[in-house]
């Protein structure tokens, strides 16, 4: 009992030490991580950050500039911009994280599968991926939004479809190089089935590059959500979304600039945090760059 406790403590210490190294070696990454945590907490605990509802209409309060009552001002229906800012992070994070998660899981599984199976199946899957990859991701997302119509779920799907071929390619090439490795051959010799090899041997070794890449894509996914919403093809109202809030208030910029500035800042903040985090992840996981 005592021993295991000590072990735990030792492990804890080690983790803290590692965290310390991270702070020291990756100051920009730390900055990103902190920013990301802020955005994350805004999304998870929105009611703690603001008491007002982001959708409450209040005609007497239209276009109030930032003040102690309305921190970020109010919009054309008298809604509190600060609460829309806070709740907007929810949409951004929900869409960004779930779409990347979806893309990663689907792309990862299909990548490992097609990398290991090889042959005609792989050939066909990869030609479809070629077709999807050749299109700029945002155009693909626009096309899918046009096909599916606007909703939160569809936005997640559209962004996931746009980025999943990229993740598929990455895991496939990792899987192919792993397929040739001696430990996979050892597993074959040990009698492992293809499914066992995929799950126990190939998949775990794809995780590091996969994680790095997924983090790197996260910022892009936030941006994609904002862009789609900006174009009026993303999440539908009245759900607060930075991109749509921005585009709907373009005409009001001249006398209510806060309506354009804060949503834009929100997008930048989220993407900025994710990019810094991704950058540091790459520095940590990519031994070649680490050496350099």
């Amino acid at each position: 009992m005592n021993k295991s406790l000590q072990k735990k403590e030792a492990r804890m210490k080690k983790h803290i030490q590692r965290l310390g190294f991270f702070f020291r070696d990756e100051p920009l990454g730390t900055f990103g991580a902190v920013l990301f945590l802020i955005v994350l907490s805004m999304a998870i605990a929105s009611p703690l950050w603001t008491e007002k509802s982001p959708t409450d209409v209040s005609i007497p309060n239209v276009f109030k500039p930032p003040s102690s009552e309305f921190w970020f001002g109010s919009d054309n229906l008298g809604r509190d911009v600060w609460s829309r800012f806070v709740y907007g992070s929810r949409t951004s994070l929900l869409v960004g994280l779930s779409s990347i998660l979806l893309a990663s899981v689907a792309g990862g599984i299909l990548g490992i599968f097609s990398g290991l199976i090889g042959g005609k199946t792989d050939l066909i899957i990869q030609r479809i991926m070629d077709a999807l990859l050749s299109m700029p991701a945002i155009v693909l997302a626009i096309l899918i939004m046009a096909v599916l119509g606007t909703s939160v779920l569809n936005t997640i799907l559209a962004i996931a479809v746009a980025y999943f071929p990229r993740i598929n390619r990455l895991t496939r090439s990792t899987a192919i190089s792993l397929r040739e490795s001696l430990f996979v051959e050892s597993a074959i010799v040990a009698g492992a089935s293809k499914i066992r090899i995929s799950i126990m041997h190939v998949a775990p070794n794809c995780i590091a590059p996969w994680l790095v890449y997924a983090t790197a894509l996260l910022g892009t996914a936030f941006l994609a959500e904002a862009t789609l919403s900006f174009l009026g093809l993303g999440v539908p109202p009245p759900i607060p979304s930075w991109g749509r809030d921005l585009s709907e208030n373009l005409t009001n910029f001249e006398f209510a600039p806060w309506l354009c500035i804060f949503p834009g800042l929100g997008i930048t903040m989220a993407v900025f945090a994710a990019n810094f985090l991704g950058d540091s992840m790459r520095n940590i996981f990519d031994p070649r760059l680490k050496k350099a």
């Binding site: 409450d56 239209v62 054309n76 606007t150 539908p236 109202p237 005409t251 009001n252």
Partner: protein, 554 residues
């Protein structure tokens, strides 16, 4: 875009001096009139087709109005558009039989289409037959009383009616009832090849998605016109169009009708950055509001519920929500009829009918009482559908949702829908509430305003049906005496405001802006009409200045 978007451009193009059949206008030219120059307008996008019979869209009419003429046109000098203020266009003069059932038109001679073909009665018969065919025209219902169009000779035409129909001439005005060349009847209306008319400008070239260019027709039947050398229609969307206007690259308001009137921010932007620009805002014949569906069953089928819902809406707050959160436009306000119309209920009468003549707290108390009488004291839930491409509709419904929730505990969810999903649902009554326009064509006839809610009419989105109302409508259509007619239409309005199939939010306003040196004929000021049948005055427009970019460059 709402219904008559053509107006945007139109009003600008305003007016003309009196057009008598005989006197060419050139002689009346005042000193200092400048010839030449290019007029640059914006339209939201290219025209879907050049068939002005099929659409009320300015995307089409801004092109056809320069190329085609009508049989007659409205007098652009007079603010009121009515059957009495019609002037000749391709018809030199006309006669109406004493029973009002036969119209004889005498056409201009020596008029030629742009390709050199002479214009004759054949072309008129072909065009008007198309205009009254429900398959090939969106306005057939407006000219339904026509039973026959007969050619007497090349320059004489007789129209037979089933019954006396005083508004016929209004409906024969451009830009809707354009006269197309009969000899090109096999050419597709989608193709620019159809742009062969008798009008002041000839089609020159088109860059799809960008611009269509028209040049002066030297053989125009009014000698000396048009003044302009060229007429260009740019396809430019908001907000790029507003920026282009402010930058002096457009001469007249972009497709601002949908924006300038519903978004005060744009008016302020234009005023700030281009203070020299002239801004015109006029009420239109259309009104915006909420249709209740009578196809869908729900609490709103009970008139007391509808009355309660109409009652608690505050007109001023509603306008602020609709007009982009800024001060209310002074010219706004209408019922089913625009207030300038003969026989229209006044704003006070409408407010009284809706029960809005008391204080807000009293209204809420009465409305709550009505709700509990109907058995919905605890409220209910319903869904409003709105078009996703026009934010102000969503804003209005969000305001209503807020008011109805707070005062009547009605849960209104607002669903913005893509056009391709919205229109089919709207047209078939598949909604609880829809925010749309009570459409009219010319905005000048009681037949149009009342006709929107007649049983079986496509524009009657909620499929409301009331026998008494339908009967009154029939009477209005056949009544020759203007006084009696106004009285009958007031009675019909009484039923409408009592039954509330549609809560009128506001009268739509058309607004646009133009460069200050834009002139029309000998008249210095552009006369803005509340309707858009005076679209047609492109032939009289001229510039005092000729600078390509009219705004001051800093």
């Amino acid at each position: 875009m709402e219904k008559k978007s053509m107006l945007k451009i139109i009003m600008v193009l305003g007016v003309i001096a009196c057009m008598t059949a005989v006197s060419p206008v050139l002689a009346a030219d005042p000193q200092g009139l400048v010839r030449g120059g290019v007029l640059r307008l914006a339209s939201a996008s290219d025209a879907a087709n050049y068939d002005s019979h099929m659409t009320t869209s300015g995307r089409t009419h801004s092109h056809t109005c320069a190329v085609f003429n009508g049989l007659v046109r409205t007098d652009p000098l007079k603010k009121e558009v009515s059957a009495e203020n019609i002037v000749p266009d391709l018809a030199e003069r006309w006669e109406i039989s004493s029973d009002g059932k036969t119209y004889t038109f005498y056409l201009r001679k020596n008029v030629k289409f742009h390709d050199g073909h002479p214009f004759t009665a054949k072309d008129v018969k072909y065009s008007l037959d198309k205009f009254r065919d429900p398959k090939r025209s969106a306005f057939a219902a407006n000219v339904a009383p026509i039973t026959n169009i007969g050619i007497i000779d090349d320059y004489t035409l007789k129209i037979q009616l089933e019954y006396a129909y005083p508004d016929l001439l209004i409906f024969l005005c451009p830009p809707y009832a354009s006269i197309y060349p009969e000899h090109l009847k096999d050419v597709s209306f989608k193709s620019t090849d159809i742009l062969v008319g008798t009008g002041p400008f000839k089609f020159k070239s088109k860059v799809p998605g960008k611009v269509s260019i028209y040049e002066r027709n030297p053989d125009y039947f009014i000698k000396g016109l048009p003044y302009l050398d060229r007429y260009e229609v740019y396809s430019l969307k908001f907000p790029a169009a507003v920026d282009a206007f402010i930058g002096g690259r457009l001469d007249c308001g972009p497709s601002m009708r949908a924006y300038l009137d519903s978004d005060r921010a744009l008016v302020l932007k234009v005023q700030k950055h281009a203070p020299e620009a002239v801004i015109g805002l006029e009420p239109s014949g259309a009104s915006r509001g909420a249709f209740f569906s009578f196809v869908h069953k729900g609490p709103w089928n009970d008139v007391r519920v509808r009355k309660a819902m109409a009652m608690v809406i505050d007109y001023r707050d509603l306008a602020i929500a609709s007009y982009g959160g800024l001060e209310v436009n002074p010219v706004v306000g209408a019922g089913l009829f625009p207030f300038y119309q003969k026989g229209a209920w006044t704003k006070e009468e409408v407010d009284k009918a809706y029960g809005r003549d008391q204080s807000m707290s009293e209204r809420i108390a009465v409305a709550k009482d009505l709700m509990s009488q109907a058995g919905y004291a605890n409220g209910f839930a319903l869904e409003a559908i709105v078009r996703s491409d026009e934010a102000f509709r969503k804003n209005v419904m969000l305001y209503c949702a807020d008011v109805w929730k707070k005062s009547l505990n009605i849960d209104l969810s607002v669903t913005p829908l893509e056009r391709s999903i919205f229109f089919p649902r709207r047209d078939t009554g598949e909604f609880d509430v829809v925010n749309d326009v009570a459409n009219t064509m010319t905005g000048s006839s009681a037949i149009e305003f009342l006709g929107t809610f007649v049983s079986g009419e496509t524009r009657n989105y909620g499929k409301w049906s009331n026998k008494e109302y339908d009967d009154l409508f029939e009477k209005v259509a056949r009544e020759q005496d203007p006084q009696k007619r106004a009285e009958l239409s007031r009675q019909a309005q009484a039923i409408f405001y009592k039954e509330i199939p549609y809560i009128v939010f506001e009268g739509a306003v058309y607004g646009t802006a133009w460069r200050p040196d834009l002139m029309t004929g000998p008249v210095k000021d552009l006369v803005m009409q509340p309707v858009f049948t005076n679209y047609v005055s492109v032939d009289r427009i001229w510039f005092k200045g000729t600078a390509e970019r009219w705004t001051k460059t800093k």
